[in-house]
Structure formats: C-alpha cells, structure tokens
C-alpha cells in the first residue's frame, strides 16, 4: 500500500470512529450553536470587525474542544499497533487533514448561523471560504501537534494543557483572519488581502513542515 492509501485509510478510520461515537461530535456542534446564540442575543449592533472576532473566537474554542480528543482513543496498545503498521508522518498528516475538515465544518456552521441571524453579508464569499480553509488547516496543525504533546505528558489535566499550549500559537492566525474579515468587507476603500493570504499560507507551510520534521522524535515519547 502506498503512503497516500494508508493516510486515506487512517482518515476513514477516524471518520468511522467519529460516527460510532456521535455523541461527542454532536456535543461540539451543540457547543458552537449555543455560543453563537448567546453572541447573537447579547450583541445589538454588529460591524465586520466584531463579526470576524466573534466568528473566529467561536471557531477556535470549538476547534480546541473538537481536537482535544484527537489522540484520546489511542491507548498504549493501540499506539504500539500504529507503530508497527504506519509511519508517524502518515499518522500526523491523516490527523491534520481530518481535523482540518472538522474545523472547517465547525466554521461553516458558525458562519452560516451568524449570517442567518445577523443579516451581515460577506463580499467575495468564495475567497473568504477558501481563506477560511487555509486558517482551518493552520488551526488543525497547531491543535493536532499540541494535543499529541499534551497527551504524551500523561498528565491528568491534559485538556487544560492543550489549551495552554495551543491558544498562544493560534493568536496570529486569528488576528490575520479578523483583519481579512474586516478588509474584505470594507466599503470605504479597496484594501488588498493578498498579503494576508500569503502570510497565512506561509504560516501553514512553516507549521506543517516543522511538525513533519519533529513527529518522528516525538511519536515515541
């Protein structure tokens, strides 16, 4: 089997596991919907800076909730099993891809609900959704990597440790997304978001590259 096929197999396994244990997945979605609702009910006047900030903070926290269980099911026996069958790079790439789509789904849900309830229309929505996919990928890389580290410490409070490790790393991605949300909808002047997209892609490449470099060393920890 080629590496790609093995990665696909791992993703398939994750999706199946997610559906078998649907209560935890739905709890993440319920969390997002609840917080969107609180935000909509408590904020009266919306502008695009606020819209971007609320949307991405929501996505970030739901993403941390969702990805904290990335390596949950992997007990030590299963880890050994993985170790025999797969290359660690394949495992982490599969996790990153799977989490990217999961976070992207959360984003689409929050985005759709916010647009539905607040009546704010986002210009160039296709560009925006593409950029959001990039941001989801960055968040997913950060979360997958830090959740591996947090789980590997075998500490009791590994979910707390995951938030502590992941949140500061995610701030730049969030700041860029808030800026893009604001600028893409700017009515008064044309502001190019090309630079921001380039920075985001750069951050993605850097993070994925360093994770692939480091995973061999950390996997055995």
């Amino acid at each position: 089997m080629t590496s790609t096929a093995r990665i696909l197999e791992l993703i398939k396994k994750d999706v199946t596991a997610e559906f078998r244990n649907f209560s935890s997945t739905s709890s993440v979605f319920l969390f997002s919907v609840t917080v969107v609702f609180i935000a909509i009910k408590s904020i009266v006047t919306w502008d695009y800076a606020l819209f971007g900030a609320i949307l991405w903070i929501l996505v970030l926290f739901s993403a941390i909730n969702a990805t904290s269980k990335t390596f949950d099911s992997e007990g030590s026996n299963q880890k050994l099993f993985y170790y025999a069958l797969y290359n660690p790079v394949e495992i982490i790439v599969a996790k990153i891809i799977y989490n990217t789509f999961f976070i992207f789904l959360i984003f689409l849900l929050c985005y759709g609900l916010l647009i539905f309830f607040t009546d704010m229309s986002v210009h160039e929505s296709f560009t925006y959704i593409f950029v959001s996919l990039l941001a989801s990928c960055a968040l997913s890389t950060i979360n997958s990597f830090t959740s591996l580290i947090a789980k590997s410490t075998n500490a009791n409070n590994s979910n707390l440790l995951l938030s502590i490790l992941a949140l500061p790393l995610a701030i730049p991605v969030l700041l860029i997304m808030v800026k893009i949300t604001k600028n893409i909808n700017s009515i008064t002047e044309e502001i190019s978001i090309k630079d921001d997209i380039l920075i985001l892609s750069g951050i993605n490449l850097l993070l994925v590259g360093i994770v692939i470099l480091l995973i061999r060393e950390l996997w055995s920890a």
Binding site: L161, I164, L175, L207, L214, E217
Partner: protein, 364 residues
C-alpha cells in the same frame, strides 16, 4: 557528588563572569551619567506655517544649554543646502529661553506648497542645537517679477556654526533623556534572541543525541531568554509611557512580542507538567523548536508588513542612521555583550541546579 564533566568546565571559570559584571557596570555608570548634548526642548510662538514676507517671533526653550551666559548666541533657519536665513533680533531671557525674530523674505521659489525649515541656534559654549521642522513656509502663487529682486535676502552660504567637543549623547525631541533606554531595551531583546537561539541549538542537539545535559542546557537558556523577554517588555512599556504617553498600545510589534512571550510561558508550563525526565526532555525539546519557529515570524516578519509606531517598522528608522551615533554605540554594543554574558551565567546556574535536582531525585 555530581561529577564535573569536562565540557562543563568553562562554567566554573570566573573570568567571563567578571568580564560580564565589569561591562554591565561600565554600561550602567556610563550610560546613566554621560550628559545629553544641548537641544531645543520647545519652540513656541508660531502657527504651523508662515507665508513669505511675514515677520515671525519665536521663543525657544533650551535643554542643557547656556543661553544666559553665552555672549554670542546666533540663530538661523535652514531651508535647504543653499538657502539660509539669519535672525533679525535675538534676546535671551530667564530659564534658558531665547526670543528670536525672523523676517521671511518674499516669494522667490517657483512652487506652491509647504517646505519645512530647520531652526539652528549656536553659541561658543554649547556648540549648536537644532530643531527640524520648527516652522513650515507656505509658498503661494508665484509672482515672476519678485524672483530677481528678493533672492538676495536668503543667505546662500551657511552661517558659522560652533562645534562642541564635549562627549555627550545626542539630543532627540520626545526621546530626551530616555534615549539611554537603548542600552537596556534594545540590548535585552537582542540578547534574548541569542539566548533563545542557544536554547534551540541544544534542543536540536538533544533530539539527535538524547543526552539529558542538552535538555537541561536548552531549558536553562530558554528560561533566561524568557526572563530577558519579560524585562524587554517592561523596559519597552516604560519607554512607551514617556514617549507615546501610554503604557501599552495596539501596535502590532508590541502585541506580537507579547504573544511570543505567551508561547514561551506555555513552554515553561509544559516542562512542569510531567516528572518523567526522558519524556519531559523529548516533549519540551519538540515544543521549543515549534515555539521558536512560530516566534520568528511573529517578531520579525509580521510587524514589518503592518503600520507601526515602533522603530524598525512602517518606515520608521530602527538601528543605524543618525539615531545610533558613535557615542551611543560605545555603550550599546558592550551592553549586548554584557547582557549575553550575564544571561549565560544565569543559565549555567540554572543548569547546575537542575543537575543537582536530578542527582537528588535519583538518590531517593
């Protein structure tokens, strides 16, 4: 007893620690006591712009100047390399103040718009003091007849300027005495980068060779790097209070630096979350490489792409240019070296204490 490895012997030598202390004492004493060059603290009495042909009366307040004692106070305005205007009258008054009158010549330049004028005050005791953009001259529509007749009023050569050979730091408006913070704030950040690089080097070395010595060294360098980063934020905040008027701004460079520090604080928490030495070493080495890679774009790349008040961004000059003159360099470069030496010293102390801790733990 914990055995002393051969490659750790340099940590027990005293010469480089002494050198660090001497350098820092030199920077502290010299950097805090060398006076500033005379400068013009404030210029009042003028709206932002004057029209050709007007008379203006300026009052300037000097800083570190001797306007009251000096007999030969002179002042002139500089338009460009070939146009100067001497004052028509100059009187010194209480509290290092000078009252200076100028008569701006009528139209002579074929343009419409604003041109800044630099005010230069000179006497034999202080040398010279200047204020760029003291006044702006507002050219209005040109009357061609006036050109030939009025050119004469502008002096075409620079009036004599006294030089002052006293060793002093340059005077900059707004910065004033806080220019000395260059030796601490800027040097702390540079020393922090060097220490974090040393931490990175040992983290990589740990992952390659799996020796606990490298893990301890990496953790020690990173800890001292974080300490320096915190001190850099504090000194920067104090500086911001005196120059920008607030402790903290929404400026991108400040916030990115703070986020970088948060990432490294997470590193410290990670290290404390497990007691297994090998596992802790492996995980924290991995995270510190990740953190460093995430830290570099935060403080070097992203701030350059946004508008920023902070020097080094958005077209503001950073190091070099006329802001870092030779008198500042005499303390700035030693300060970096001294801080690095002190930081390495602190890191070796931390390293030795961690080694002892490990020894006691294994004895238990």
């Amino acid at each position: 007893m914990v055995s002393l490895e051969n490659k750790d012997r340099w940590m027990h030598k005293n010469y480089w620690k002494t050198l660090g202390i001497i350098i820092m004492l030199y920077v502290l004493i010299g950097g805090m006591t060398v006076p500033l060059k005379p400068g013009l603290e404030e210029v009042y009495g003028v709206n932002s712009s004057v029209k050709p042909g007007e008379k203006i009366a300026l009052t300037v307040k000097g800083y570190n100047t001797h306007f009251d004692i000096a007999e030969d106070n002179t002042a002139f305005l500089k338009l460009n390399e070939s146009h100067f205007l001497k004052s028509s009258k100059i009187v010194s008054s209480e509290g290092q103040k000078l009252k200076i009158d100028f008569e701006i010549p009528a139209e002579m330049i074929n343009k419409v718009g604003l041109d800044p004028l630099t005010l230069v005050v000179t006497n034999s005791i202080d040398g010279y003091a200047l204020q760029p953009n003291a006044v702006s001259i507002k050219w209005v529509v040109l009357d061609t007849n006036l050109i030939s007749s009025n050119t004469g009023k502008w002096a075409l050569e620079m009036p004599k300027v006294n030089q002052n050979s006293q060793f002093a730091f340059p005077y900059r408006n707004i910065l004033n005495e806080t220019i000395r913070n260059t030796f601490f704030h800027v040097a702390l950040w540079l020393a922090m980068i060097i220490l974090l690089l040393a931490g990175l080097y040992h983290a990589v070395k740990y992952l390659r060779k799996k020796e606990l010595r490298d893990d301890y060294l990496s953790a020690s360098y990173n800890t001292v790097g974080i300490l320096y980063g915190m001190l850099g934020l504090v000194t920067g905040s104090i500086w911001a209070k005196h120059t920008w008027g607030t402790w903290w701004t929404t400026d991108v460079k400040l916030n990115m630096a703070a986020i970088g520090m948060l990432i490294y604080c997470a590193y410290l928490i990670l290290r404390n979350s497990t007691n297994d030495f090998e596992r802790r070493a492996k995980l924290s080495a991995g995270f510190s490489i990740f953190a460093f890679v995430a830290f570099i774009p935060l403080i070097f790349v992203i701030p350059r792409l946004y508008d920023s008040l902070h020097p080094g961004n958005g077209g503001n000059p950073a190091l070099g240019g006329e802001d870092l003159d030779s008198s500042l360099r005499m303390f700035f470069y030693p300060s970096i070296i001294g801080l690095i030496l002190l930081g390495v010293w602190l890191a070796t102390l931390k390293y030795r204490s961690m080694k002892l801790e490990n020894y006691l733990y294994s004895k238990k």
